[in-house]
């Protein structure tokens, strides 16, 4: 699976699950997710769970920081640490 494919999967998931009004809000690979409030700290748990389920990995809490989850590109970087690229 290419990096581009992973990016698109994560982006699509975020758009589907976390945007209140998909008609008005467009996000890209570098759009801040946590700092902008699109994904709050509680919702981050479900995003983490999605990544773990989808890619059959376990992300330790120490790695699941708001900074590491703050954009699709940052999440893709994080996944690389688990051999997902």
């Amino acid at each position: 699976m290419s990096s581009e494919e992973i990016k698109n999967i994560v982006l699509e998931y975020v758009e589907e699950e976390y945007l209140d009004d998909e008609e008005d809000q467009e996000i890209g690979y570098d759009t801040p997710l946590i700092s902008s409030g699109i994904v709050d700290s509680f919702s981050m748990v479900s995003l983490k769970r999605f990544l773990e389920t989808r890619y059959k990995i376990q992300i330790p809490d120490a790695k699941a920081t708001p900074e590491a989850f703050d954009s699709v590109n940052k999440i893709v970087q994080l996944l690389k640490e688990f051999g997902i690229e």
């Binding site: 699950e17 209140d20 009004d21 008609e23 008005d24 809000q25 801040p32 946590i34 700092s35 902008s36 409030g37 994904v39 709050d40 700290s41 509680f42 919702s43 748990v45 479900s46 769970r49 999605f50 773990e52 389920t53 120490a62 708001p66 900074e67 703050d70």
Partner: protein, 567 residues
């Protein structure tokens, strides 16, 4: 020397009249919180002083003086009145932490409306429940939250005005919706505030209980008397302070101490409208030279995870006083904050219903790490026996936290639910619903909730509301929701579920159910763990034994199981 000075001296001499006098209020006078926080401060010659420093998530920064705030809140009040909204109408604020939220709150109070702030992360059902119960007539919101309002609007015939503060105008608004751009509306220099009196309803904050739907704790304008003096004495705010309250005004801390307290004291406060990120927070304190900081244990524990090394990268030397609220502040966090910032966090205890702090650690008072502190002067608090509700005299013995009714910011009723309101008062005490003990020095020590309400990240979540919502998922046959210990949030939501025929447990189904609740209710209500089970423990009469499941999660004794239907 702190604003309060000696605790013992104040404890013995203080009466609420002292706060009334400082505010220039006399019994029977007009008292309008909106006016007190803006016009009154300007009359003191502080119109040019900065009231609000606001920063958005992208770094955009705006500053407002007290005079500008006075005019903007006038403008909002007149706009709402012009629409046909009237005194005592419930007007909801459903926004992120943008300036319009803060000014909207005061504008509503100025025109005599009842401000009903709701957390902008609430899903459609949580929003509907609260708007329907309050028979809310207007809602002020943002384009990004409009879709949630639209989904429930057809079922809310009394909601006549949906006011959008940031409508870009690229798509037509629908029936009942209207655009309102505060910056582009003609500013109103003079406005005659509603002549509210002490007992005039002001704010309606919804809070969760063990059973039934959330209840609206109704406050009155006289709450200002408590909120002003507790801010001055506990947060120790002074003329030249820059104050940062990290709470969202969707919750009571964000209004009592994120709006009313600091501004009635004429103090500059700053707001960061961005999600939690450790370095972003430190940078914010550094940039705006924050001096007094009011935050929550969950945030403090998240900061602790990053260690003191991150703290040292920033100049946080302006900080002089720090407080915490929302859940018990563990001793480790107090010790860590002394190491990291050279200052301890002072724990403060209060509730939506109390409207202001009731038991706290005061500046200058010896802190016993892990303790809640002592009652605020003017507050008579104790712990009472679980059965006869008599005060417990023996130090260290656990009972229910109880407060003598009559402090100014005490809630006056639960909206549409007087019976439940009355049930909170027993034997002449308001029973807070929390368990604690008092030591030989008079310090209170928190033990836990006395009911099944879940305190997650400082926010109360009712299990019944989540269980009901879970049953609406196509796969769920039965559900039970309890708290589970969590190192950062103190507690998180855990759900036990039995599935309908045709559904099998899987990680994918777990995630689907989590997201279902997150969207329907709120991220706070989303179970962070779901355990699928073939059956749930029930009494012989068929009631699910939630306490059994909770005891298991907390590693506690299960207790009496004589009514259990099956093991």
């Amino acid at each position: 020397m702190s604003n309060m000075g000696d605790y013992q001296e104040k404890k013995s001499s203080f009466t609420w009249q002292q706060s009334e006098q400082e505010l220039g209020y006399r019994e029977g006078n007009v008292i309008n919180i909106g006016e007190y926080c803006t016009d009154r401060i300007c009359r003191q010659g502080k119109g040019g002083k900065t009231a609000l420093i606001w920063q958005g998530h992208s770094g955009e920064t705006r500053k407002y003086t007290f005079d500008r705030m006075r005019i903007l809140t006038n403008t909002i009040a007149a706009y709402l009145e012009g629409l046909g909204l009237r005194a005592q109408d419930r007007i909801c604020l459903f926004m992120d932490k943008i300036p319009e939220l803060y000014f909207g709150f005061l504008g509503i109070l100025k025109m005599g409306g009842i401000a009903q702030p709701l957390f902008s992360a609430f899903g459609g059902e949580s929003l509907y429940t609260r708007l329907a119960d309050a028979q809310t007539r207007g809602i002020i919101t943002q384009r990004r939250h409009l879709k949630k309002v639209r989904k429930i609007l057809a079922d809310l015939p009394r909601l006549e005005f949906v006011i959008v503060v940031d409508d870009p105008g690229d798509k037509p608004l629908r029936e009942r919706e209207m655009a309102f751009d505060l910056e582009k509306t003609r500013p109103l220099e003079e406005y005659d505030c509603f002549q509210s009196r002490a007992e005039t309803p002001s704010v309606l904050h919804y809070t969760s209980g063990t059973t039934g739907q959330p209840k609206g704790a109704q406050h009155v304008h006289y709450s200002l008397i408590s909120q002003y003096i507790t801010t001055k004495w506990v947060l120790d705010l002074r003329e030249d302070d820059v104050y940062w309250c990290t709470a969202d005004p969707g919750w009571v801390t964000g209004t009592s101490y994120g709006i009313i307290g600091p501004w009635s004291n004429g103090v500059t406060q700053c707001v960061l409208d961005a999600g939690f990120q450790t370095e972003r927070w430190y940078q914010f304190i550094d940039d705006f030279k924050v001096t007094v900081w009011y935050s929550a244990p969950t945030a403090i524990r998240s900061l602790m995870k990053e260690g003191t090394g991150t703290v040292k990268k920033y100049d946080l030397s302006t900080l002089r006083h720090m407080c915490s609220v929302g859940e018990p502040l563990n001793a480790e966090a107090v010790v860590w904050s002394e190491e990291a910032f050279g200052l301890p966090f002072h724990d403060t205890y209060w509730q939506t219903e109390t409207g202001s702090m009731i038991i706290t650690n005061f500046p200058g008072m010896k802190i016993k790490p892990g303790s809640m502190g002592k009652p605020f002067p003017g507050i008579t608090a104790t712990v009472v026996d679980f059965k006869d509700h008599q005060p417990i005299e023996k130090p260290g013995m656990v009972g229910l936290i109880a407060v003598k009714p009559g402090w100014p910011s005490m809630f006056r009723t639960y909206w549409n639910n007087e019976e439940t309101y009355r049930s909170k008062f027993v034997n002449g005490w308001y029973i807070c619903g929390d368990r604690a003990s008092i030591d030989e020095d008079g310090y209170f020590w928190f033990v836990g909730r006395d009911d099944d309400v879940i305190n997650t990240g400082g926010h109360l979540v009712g299990p019944f509301e989540i269980e009901s919502a879970l049953l609406e998922h196509e796969a769920v046959a039965e559900s039970a929701v309890v708290s589970k210990p969590d190192p950062v949030n103190m507690e998180v939501v855990k759900a036990f579920i039995t599935l309908k025929p045709g559904f099998e447990p899987s990680e994918e189904l777990e995630l689907k159910i989590m997201n279902f609740i997150r969207k329907k209710l709120s991220p706070l209500a989303m179970p962070q763990e779901i355990e699928f089970s073939d059956s749930l423990p029930k009494t012989r009469s068929g009631k699910i034994m939630r306490r059994l499941l909770k005891a298991r999660e907390w590693g506690e004794e299960i207790g009496d199981t004589s009514t259990l239907e099956n093991d």
